[in-house]
Symmetry: C2
Subunit: 239 residues, 2 copies
């Protein structure tokens, strides 16, 4: 639960060089690096075989160490999943923070978030964020990640509402629309492993276009030969 990552923040103290503490601090940094490697390896294995089909021996083997070594950096398998979870969600929260700066209509900010979102889902941690089941976590951890996810959901709804208000987004139900958008993007994690012909960013861009335009033709439709095609289809139907 209390993931007190010291690495990036504590790095600020490195200024006083040459002190006798230098090596011990380096040790600490090494430790963080290794810990991150463990979590990343776990994410990759979970991604490949699923959480329950991945043993800690598998993860250890991927790192070319033994199981107790993994336990030296992490207290339990559950925590491993939790950390992966958080790492994935964190990428998306970062996207929101980044986009918040942009001085453009809400629709464009939304699009930017969605593109980052897509990239995150296609990343190593994407699977964990999307497919891991919260029943696999302790109630406390489950609550934690649920609130993180909810924050993202609310962020999307907020952008939708802002867009509707500033006229850049067609009026719609923010809740349902947010579900649809997030769902389409989350689902990338399911098929991306099999079909990596596009990058996460490319997929997200394609999706954004689809969502923006909508299926119904924008300029006067030309539904000329609809009836003719219907006949043909009926023909093939009678098997």
């Amino acid at each position: 639960m209390n993931s007190r990552r010291t690495s990036p923040l504590a790095a600020g103290k490195t200024a006083a060089a040459g002190s006798p503490w230098r090596s011990s601090r380096e040790r600490l940094r090494d430790r963080e690096l290794k810990r991150d490697a463990v979590i990343r390896a776990a994410a990759r294995e979970f991604n490949r075989k699923g959480y329950h089909n991945t043993s800690l021996d598998d993860i250890a083997a991927a790192l070319q160490v033994t199981k107790p070594t993994v336990y030296y950096y992490v207290t339990s398998k559950e925590q491993l999943l939790f950390e992966c979870f958080v790492a994935g969600v964190e990428q998306i929260r970062a996207a929101f923070r980044e986009v918040r700066q942009l001085a453009v209509p809400a629709r464009e900010r939304l699009n930017a978030v969605l593109r980052h979102y897509g990239e995150a889902v296609a990343s190593d941690f994407g699977w964990c964020m999307v497919r891991a089941e919260d029943q696999d976590l302790s109630p406390a951890m489950s609550r934690h990640i649920k609130s993180l996810k909810s924050e993202i959901d609310q962020g999307i709804r907020r952008l939708l509402r802002e867009g509707i208000q500033d006229g850049s987004i067609e009026p719609c139900d923010p809740k349902m629309t947010a579900f649809a958008l997030a769902g389409a993007l989350n689902w990338i994690a399911h098929w991306y492993r099999e079909d990596q012909s596009l990058t996460g960013a490319q997929i997200a861009t394609a999706f954004v276009t689809i969502f923006e335009e909508g299926l119904r033709p924008r300029r006067g439709a030309l539904r000329i030969d609809a009836r003719a095609r219907r006949r043909r289809t009926h023909g093939t139907l009678a098997r």
Copy 2:
């Protein structure tokens, strides 16, 4: 793999009534009914707790019988998952069959399919169809369900292409669009358990509207106060 459901087909022989075999045929029918109950119970438990967090004792308990009784109707836990899988996918294939009859533009046929799709995903078997991992199945079973899923995917793409051709659907990339549509709908299975304020059909209808219209406003946008809102947002940003 070879799920030889005899019940509906073999029922044809029922014509010769009064024969001494009657009761034995009834027994057979009972057996099928019980078997279906087992599979349905499994689906519900998987849905609640996930596949790996559900033991066969749990499923047996839900049916108020013991584990070996479950094994009397099913050969393995794996097969249980497989059957749930197939049952879910079958609902959607049925939707395609049904819709194929309609003499309307492809977009409307697509919408009809998507509505049925949404209902299926929100049903008991929705979870299994959507969230179950194919790594949990034997290669043969995995291949089987993969081909069923692919069939559905191809069906959606086909409707998209037809719609583009008959002018009822805005030109788009059928592959990506199919992924986006299916993804949004599949994702329902993830949150439906928590939020059942709407029925599957209602959700699907809402989604269809969203997909049809698109986010970009259709009539000339009025992006008046966009800059003013930006300023406000910047204010809250500086924490």
